[in-house]
């Protein structure tokens, strides 16, 4: 680590990038997919129908809850937006006398999934859906949640280190701004590709890494809160004020017309969309309806909550506007999540994020490309080199293969299988681990071609698998004008084609004469 500032930064960049690179690649890939979390969930729940307006869904939800849980302590309705096909409900049953109030989260028998347009209960197959990719990208899996978040935070912190040191290391940011020389020697073109994906999307990479850390800053740096609030609960009460719980009066009164209340809420927000509806003491004179705004209405990722009288439908109170610090935090949160994005901006997010995946992947490959020519005997690299090379292959091809394997499992595992959702998740990790094992067992160049081809096949065949096993298929989606699902299948095909292109390139690279000649001249005198 001696030498000039730039040299020490180069050292830092190389090693922080390498050590955390594999996990970062998986975080970037699954995070990229999370921009389409609702669409992935829809695809993975082929039993569900089409998105419908929140007002329609609210009507169905109230009808269902009035019948199923009329005297519940509270109802919670997560309304669909234009990307979701279901309303998700749960309710807290009234506690029997003497019993302590049950926990906030309802048990599974207190939950229901309703079709957004008909309001009829649907029972989608047991799956984590797009939620898995979202969760795994910041809290890992097979680890306790908080530990997983620490791992993700450590990786993100070193991502920030790698970005900053990378900017220092890169001497010619503006001179090489438009430079990509794919036909030059391997090291040159890989470096170009790494610089290209890093520099041209640098604002995105910086934003996404920094705001990613900010989303969990309360966990990583709790001292600001502990210094100002004696008990953590008082902090949460100040950040997320909740209406006070009111005892049931015992006087029954019909619930106000929910679609009407939602319309009032929307007007109050200047056309904003309601998202979560909480009804306490439904059917009672003391009923209160709380309506939380959709988190994708503004840049800030929290829209505030309005409380209405549950019988008259009058607005009672609104959460106060956040102060500047809280607003800054929420805007950063919102920028990371990108939920405010319309379809065009969402695709921009997705493509920039793919550039991030490419940046990490090219950086990992560059480590081996740079060192291969300096090896004493390129035919027999030392253990460290082999380890990095195999993990590179196993991860760069293995993560997309794993993600595709999860979607395969979603279609192929029996619907009634016990622990189905968990096995879908296992199949992600099994496929990833299998790819690493395959990469270790085969010669490196062959392994690149084989694993990338396998990943390409797994991704591109998904529309066919889906068409063969469920009613979700490209033709049906086209005919019924379900454009989200059309785009889903086409995107799978495009991503499969991109992976196949990488496999072809890896195959062609094997035939490049230069590295071979060098290895022969080294091997000849021995």
């Amino acid at each position: 680590m001696k030498g000039s500032f730039r040299q020490s930064m180069a050292w830092l960049h190389t090693w922080s990038g390498l050590v955390f690179g594999w996990v970062l690649f998986a975080m970037f890939m699954t995070g990229t997919a999370s921009y389409f979390r609702p669409e992935i969930t829809r695809w993975m729940e082929p039993e569900t129908g089409r998105p419908a307006s929140y007002a329609q869904a609210a009507q169905g939800a109230v009808a269902y809850l009035n019948q199923t849980a009329p005297d519940a302590q509270s109802w919670s309705i997560t309304l669909p937006d234009e990307r979701q096909a279901t309303a998700r409900l749960f309710w807290r049953p009234a506690p029997s006398p003497g019993e302590e109030a049950p926990r906030r989260r309802g048990r599974s028998e207190n939950r229901a999934v309703l079709d957004a347009s008909t309001g009829q209960p649907v029972s989608p197959r047991d799956t984590r859906g797009g939620e898995f990719f979202y969760r795994v990208h910041f809290q890992m899996h097979y680890l306790p949640v908080l530990q997983g978040r620490w791992v993700a935070g450590l990786c993100a912190m070193f991502m920030l280190v790698a970005i900053t040191s990378g900017v220092v290391t890169h001497k010619r940011i503006f001179k090489d701004f438009f430079t990509f020389r794919p036909r030059k020697a391997a090291q040159r073109s890989w470096l170009d590709a790494h610089n290209l994906t890093a520099v041209l999307a640098l604002p995105f990479h910086l934003m996404i890494t920094y705001t990613g850390l900010v989303t969990l800053m309360g966990l990583y740096m709790p001292w600001g809160v502990t210094a100002n609030y004696k008990a953590p609960e008082t902090y949460f009460e100040a950040m997320f004020p909740r209406a006070e719980e009111v005892e049931r009066s015992g006087v029954s009164a019909p619930l106000a017309n929910l679609p009407g209340v939602l319309e009032t809420a929307s007007e109050h927000w200047g056309g904003g969309r309601p998202w979560i509806v909480n009804v306490s003491n439904p059917g009672d004179a003391s009923a209160v309806i709380e309506v939380t705004r959709h988190s994708g209405d503004q840049l800030a990722y929290a829209g505030g909550t309005l409380a209405f009288n549950g019988v008259t439908g009058q607005l009672i109170s609104a959460t106060p506007e956040p102060g500047p610090a809280v607003l800054t935090h929420r805007v950063m949160y919102g920028l990371h999540m990108g939920r405010f994005a319309d379809p065009i901006l969402r695709w921009v997010y997705f493509l920039c994020s793919l550039a991030g995946c490419a940046m990490v992947a090219t950086g990992l490959v560059l480590w081996t490309v740079k060192r291969r020519s300096q090896l004493p005997d390129p035919e027999r690299p030392h253990f460290g080199f082999r380890l990095v090379e195999r993990l590179n292959i196993g991860t760069i091809a293995g993560v997309p293969a794993g993600m595709a394997a999860m979607l395969w499992a979603n279609r192929l595992l029996p619907v009634g299988m016990a622990g189905r959702a968990e096995w879908e998740v296992h199949s992600f990790f099994i496929a990833w681990a299998g790819t690493i094992a395959w990469a270790c067992a085969r010669p490196a160049r062959r392994a690149w071609v084989e694993t990338l081809s396998a990943a390409a096949f797994l991704v591109a065949a998904l529309p066919l698998v889906s068409a063969a096993t469920t009613s979700r298929n490209l033709l049906g989606a086209l005919l019924s004008g379900d454009w989200a699902m059309v785009a889903f299948d086409l995107t799978l095909l495009a991503l499969g084609a991109a992976l196949a292109f990488c496999a072809l390139k890896a195959g062609a690279y094997r035939a490049a004469p230069k590295p071979r000649r060098r290895s022969r001249t080294v091997a000849a005198p021995a």
Binding site: F177, T179, F180, P182, L196, L200, F204, Q298, L345
Partner: protein, 117 residues
């Protein structure tokens, strides 16, 4: 429509910046530019990115528009660089066509918005 214009303007703007750099001149326009022309190209580049920003803000408002602009120019630069690596002449021609059509798209958008309003 106006967002397509924003992307085309960003593409043309970056292409102008690219042409202002000595190392890319021969491969794109076939000759070295005079110092005056280089300054002009740089100004055109800044104008292109600025106009793209205006389009994004017109389409989506200040908040979402500036986020969208940041994303669009990143993708425009990536697209230009990739095209430049394989088809430098095509990149230059496409940039010229973009610079020509983008104002037309903006005009058409303005007309449609005016009629609707």
């Amino acid at each position: 429509m106006i967002l397509t214009a924003a992307f085309l303007l960003a593409f043309a703007g970056f292409a102008a910046f690219c042409v202002s750099m000595t190392k890319h001149q021969v491969e794109t326009v076939g000759r070295r530019l005079a110092p005056r022309e280089q300054t002009l190209a740089k100004a055109a580049g800044a104008a292109g990115l600025g106009a793209a920003f205006a389009c994004a803000v017109l389409a989506e408002g200040w908040r979402f528009g500036s986020v969208l602009w940041s994303g669009l120019i990143m993708l425009a630069a990536l697209a230009l660089t990739l095209l430049l690596a394989y088809r430098p002449r095509t990149a230059a021609r496409f940039a010229a066509v973009s610079a020509y059509f983008a104002p037309l798209l903006v005009a058409a958008w303005a007309l449609v918005t005016f009629i609707e309003a």
